[in-house]
Amino acid sequence: MLEYSFSKPNSSRSPSLVTEDLRSFISKIYTVYSTNSASFMGLSSIGTASDGMQLCIFDLRRGQHEGQELDKILYFFPADLPFSTQLSVIGLSEGLITFTRIFSPEAACEVIEAERHSHVFYEAEPDIWMVMIVEKSKDSEAIWRIDALREVLKEIHSLFVMFHGSIRALLEREPGGGLTRAHLYPFIMDYLRDFLVGKKLQLPSFRDCLMERRSVQMLTVGREAAIEVQTLVRILESSAGNLPCFSLILFQDLLVSTTLSPEDTINLYKYAVLRLTPLALSSGAKSWSYLRKGNSSSHVSIGSTLLSTGSVSEQFYGSHDASPAGDNRYHVTRPLQHDKWFKGKDGFLITDIWGGDIGSLNVTTPTVWLHQTEERMYLCAYQYKSLTIILLIPLSSILNGDQGVSILKQQLLENASLKILKVEEKLSKGWGGENAYHVSGYRYLLVDGNRDISRASPPTKVTTLSKESLLALNRLREEVDAEKSRAKWDNPGREKDLEVCIRAKNNAWAVARITGGKELYMVLEKANETLLYASDAVEKFSNRYCSGTFSLD
């Protein structure tokens, strides 16, 4: 596939070449081992039931004695798999982790490429591991980028923590593990439902290589509008009085302003895009009516057969259905539940996910847990036209709970409505529409790793690329991922500049340039034969859209 490969002379190997080789050597050994053992232990048969994907979470500190093995399983998908199979999958993963830790205590196994499966590892919290196993089917679409899959694991975990706190904390609260399982199960099920296409789970594939999951897409605004936005931010935060609070402002599905730390911003942004923005609401709001009040059995959507559990494990994972029937052992909120957010008459978004009755508008205010302050916050979301405003106020600073929140909302409306109107108008005026960030002739992805921001060609434009080009870029990104992680180990805290251009079979150029923590990926299908031409095109793009960041030569 690669016709031509080019890399900068200065991206030379670093002194720790030896460890590198050792690591790859070990990984090779385990590839063999895993392939064998997988088939030996019957792993190969799992794929049929779950469309080729398994996802498990387990705790290495639990179930270390014979007979207690089930203890370590915190989550398994598909849940209707026999426990013996679940245990064998987890046992294999555990074995690999333990073994690789001998050589690399800080970072154990990241991925295992077996003949028919890829095992993606992610240590979400100390000793709590998430493993995703995807089947390499003959289906030519099933080509992944491992890092993209790991991003999914990361996303699941950080969103979970945002709503429920850390898994370890849950385990400590109830050492039996039932509480944790009861939380994890519906959460991940709700999350995975977003990946359902028809009856198939569609995980990020090579077609998504011009996307960066764990990053924020921002709206570009002019100075005047930016000043207005920041003034609004100040008004918002001052309407909470002297309480320390945070805000997030989105226009459509793009971030306009945040006062949160990058980590929290990514999570809340993601949640907003998934459930709160006008676009996210519009899908749900249509089907909702007051007639359905009280009857919140939400287990009706399409993927139910696939995502529902068999009766075997229902007891084990706790009820996945958070219906207020009262027969649950645990009261579990399902923040990712679909079609549960609505826009109230006052412009605030409401949901009964956290309890209460949506019909009487008497609902419990949602709360989230912030990574930065390690504090639980009330989440108030307000929407005006395309503008979504999220305000986070510490639980500790509002004494009388929901009542206090509604007073605060009132204040917010009084102080800020005018400004909100003005800002929305300004942003709408400056908004270039869905294809605002399309650059004709280019299909690109721009990632600012320092700020966790990305921008890419609009998806509709990316689909015009041929499969060949996408595969080439996917491959290139894998290379870059590997290079980056190698550099991270060799030289922690140092950024590496990197430039790679490859030519795909269809004569398209796939380009990657990395400098100072910023990454630019690009596919040029209509570029000329010469590398010079492609390089020129990148240079032009860099000068025009990235203030010359990537034009170092």
């Binding site: 200065n10 030379s12 002194p15 605004v221 002019g222 100075r223 005047e224 930016a226 000043i227 207005e228 936005v229 920041q230 003034t231 931010v233 100040r234 008004i235 001052s238 302003s257 945040t258 006062t259 949160l260 730390s261 990058p262 911003t265 320092n450 700020r451 140092r494 950024e495 500049d497 400098t515 100072g516 923590g517 203030s547 010359g548 960041t549 170092l552 030569d553």
Partner: protein, 717 residues
């Protein structure tokens, strides 16, 4: 609009017993007691106070005002004097002897000539000198206007133009350059001409409103009841309708005269009780402008007078008398005691009396006379407002006022002019231009204005005791009712947009009084530049507000907003301060957005501050280094890269951007510390290739040696 609140507040304060007066007159006055004086005349064209005796004319300059001013003495021949005015170049003295003749005296040569009416049927009502290009003097007669040019050679007047019409009486002020000619049975039909240095503008004929007391009687409008008023370059006319006890106001445009509104005047009794001395600052009252209330708070004035009087401790104990006449723009002539007082505005008192800070600032920003004082006050007020943590929207308004005023002063050039004049007489902090022209604003200034009372020269003498008291009563009344009245009327006064029809069509070219004054007056402006905002407001505020800088950032943001709207450039130091504040409160996310969205504009100072503040936050540091590159500070950027250990990138960048000023040893040392012999070799090679003669430098030999050692040791290892 915004002036409303403060004006009502101020006037209430003014009436209160313990309040601070807004206006004061400074002791000592100018004493102009001349034996044998035959009265006083005020020549508003030259701002001279004139006092003729039987054969001499004493003249005092009133601008700039000095109590010690010595009179100039000119000889004239004996005879009756109806009116007296100096020519605008002050070379000629014109004395109206009767209703048929005016006598001219040349001050240097002593030559005289007399101008007489040609026809028996007409008589001279008065005259005034003009700076109109085509003529020098205008004689108002019952049959119309005669425009004459003075012929230096022939020492006589040459008729330039005649405007025929019946005239009963007229009013003129030099400040407005406007002459209004009354005609008709009731004297309420007016013709108007503006004779300015630009030329002559004929205003459309218009009628003033008069109420009828009974069916058959028709009251006649008297010249004492009509005033031309200049408010910030706009010309208004005020008319007292004695029958209806209403004061009407009109605004003049080139092609229209629009009635602005009317206010009732109340009974004389109250006036008697309050005994306030005032002749004509009526406009002030009705305007409701903050500037105006300074004039309206007459009880205050009186208070200060009596204080001074008791201080002075001589036979001047009773200063106020019925003989007080108010002159343009800020003088009081006490005819009885032969004294001239200058009215001062007490800016401190005015600004202290109102809590409506934006309006006070707006008022202060319009001060031209005591520009420096006004400016200092503005700075202090703004600073205090921030330190007191007033609500952000109020501070935002204040910022708007200050920035708008600055932007305007840049446009008109008064800001720089002011600076220039401030510098020349270094010993005098309060610069007041000799012109003392309040109204140098171009016509576009709108809103809260200072009103200046007008009085024509011919009138000073004729103002009788009775008349003055009449007026005082009326005005005093209306002043006390002012707050109520304003609310109903100020919309019309204040904003040109509210009115309909003729008004809006006319707003395009309002009649402008200040055309020629602009050249005359050398003025300073109280406008505050962004630089001064930083040095005298934000920086001190930052020093005093330790801890929780969030409020200050909000204020600065408002300032940015105002500045952005007015396209005024912000001092880079303020950006630096903003970075510091945000970093100090660890609002890194916001700081990032400020920089990315260019709310904080890139500059070297900001970049360095970002690097400094970025010690705690990697992302911020990154923004700093990106900014260095962005503003093309190549050398700093290369140095930074080397410092951070990115010496190869630095070399590459230096080569691309031709940075040659950085010592090779820096790069070599960095390469050496990285303990990578390949890199060190590469760097050595780089310099050998690109710097001629590098081989012979000590750097080369040192590092070549080190490189060899590194290589040999690695071989051994």
């Amino acid at each position: 609009m915004s002036g409303k609140a403060s004006s009502s507040q101020a006037s209430i304060g003014g009436l209160g017993s313990g309040s601070v007066s807004h206006v004061f007159i400074q002791y000592p006055p100018l004493r102009c007691n001349i034996p044998g004086s035959r009265g006083f005349y005020y020549d508003d064209g030259n701002k001279l106070l004139l006092s003729p005796t039987s054969n001499q004319v004493f003249s005092w300059k009133t601008a700039p005002f000095s109590p010690n001013a010595a009179p100039n003495i000119d000889s004239i021949t004996e005879g009756p004097i109806c009116s007296i005015r100096f020519s605008l170049d002050e070379k000629l003295i014109a004395v109206q002897r009767s209703n048929t003749s005016i006598q001219f005296f040349h001050r240097e040569t002593g030559e005289t000539f007399t101008h007489r009416c040609k026809s028996e049927s007409e008589s001279i009502l008065g005259f005034f000198w003009t700076d109109c290009p085509s003529c020098d003097i205008v004689v108002v007669k019952t049959s119309g206007l005669d425009l004459y040019a003075y012929d230096h050679a022939l020492k006589s007047l040459a008729l330039v133009e005649t405007k025929k019409m019946t005239v009963s009486w007229y009013v003129y002020t030099h400040e407005s350059r406007l002459v209004l000619l009354a005609s008709g049975m009731q004297c309420k039909t007016f013709h108007g001409f503006q004779l300015s240095s630009v030329g002559i503008i004929r205003l459309p004929k218009f009628e003033m409103v008069m109420a009828k007391p009974e069916a058959n009687s028709k009251p006649v409008l008297a010249s004492e009841d009509v005033y031309i008023v200049t408010v910030y370059g706009r010309i208004y006319c005020l008319q007292v309708d004695r029958v209806a006890m209403v004061l009407h106001s009109y605004r003049f445009y080139r092609d229209a005269i629009i009635q602005q509104g009317s206010l009732p005047i109340y009974s004389h009794k109250v006036a008697v009780n309050s005994r306030a001395p005032i002749s004509a600052p009526l406009p002030v009252l009705f305007r409701g402008f903050p500037r105006s209330d300074s004039f309206t708070s007459r009880p205050g004035t009186k208070e200060s007078e009596s204080l001074e009087a008791s201080d002075s401790n001589d036979n001047e104990a009773i200063i106020y008398g019925d003989g007080w006449t108010f002159l343009v723009p800020d003088l009081i002539c006490d005819i009885a005691n032969k004294r001239l007082w200058k009215i001062h505005l007490d800016l401190e008192a005015i600004s202290a009396s109102s809590s409506e800070v934006p309006s006070v600032l707006e008022f202060l920003q319009r001060r031209k006379l005591e520009a420096n004082k006004a400016k200092q006050l503005c700075l202090a007020i703004t600073r205090t407002m921030i330190l007191e943590r007033r609500p952000i929207n109020m501070v935002a308004k204040a910022m708007d006022v200050l920035v708008t005023s600055y932007a305007l002063s840049l446009k008109t050039g008064s800001y720089f002019k002011g600076i220039k004049t401030e510098r020349t007489p270094s010993s005098v902090p309060n610069v007041s231009g000799p012109g003392q022209g309040e109204d140098v604003n171009t016509g576009r200034t709108d809103g809260l204005g200072k009103s200046v009372q007008q009085e024509s020269a011919s009138r000073v003498n004729s103002v009788s005791v009775g008349r003055s008291s009449n007026y005082s009563s009326e005005t005093e009344d209306s002043s006390s009712f002012e707050p109520l009245k304003i609310s109903s009327n100020d919309a019309q006064f204040d904003s040109g947009k509210v009115d309909t029809g003729a008004r809006s069509s006319a707003t395009g070219n309002p009649l402008n009084a200040s055309v020629s004054e602009q050249q005359e007056s050398q003025l300073t402006s109280p406008a505050i530049s962004p630089d001064e905002m930083y040095r005298f407001v934000f920086a001190p505020a930052e020093e005093e507000m330790i801890g929780e800088p969030s409020y200050l950032v909000s204020i600065i943001l408002e300032f940015f907003r105002s500045a952005n709207l007015e396209k005024v450039k912000v001092n880079p130091n303020l950006y630096v301060l903003t970075v510091q504040l945000l970093a100090r409160s660890e609002q890194y996310a916001e700081l990032g957005l400020f920089v990315i969205n260019k709310i904080i504009e890139p500059s070297k100072e900001v970049a360095l501050q970002l690097l400094e503040s970025g010690r705690q936050n990697f992302q911020i540091r990154k923004l700093g280094s990106d900014m260095l590159r962005q503003v093309s500070l190549h050398q700093d950027y290369v140095l930074l890269l080397v410092q951070d250990g990115y010496y190869l990138e630095a070399l590459r960048y230096a080569r691309k951007h031709k940075v040659t000023t950085i010592r090779p040893s820096l790069f070599l040392e960095a390469a050496m510390t990285s303990n990578d012999s390949q890199h060190l070799a590469a760097v050595l090679r780089f310099f050998s290739d690109f710097i001629p003669g590098f081989h012979s430098t000590s750097d080369f030999s040192t590092y070549y040696h080190i490189l060899n050692e590194m290589n040999s040791s690695s071989v051994v290892a």
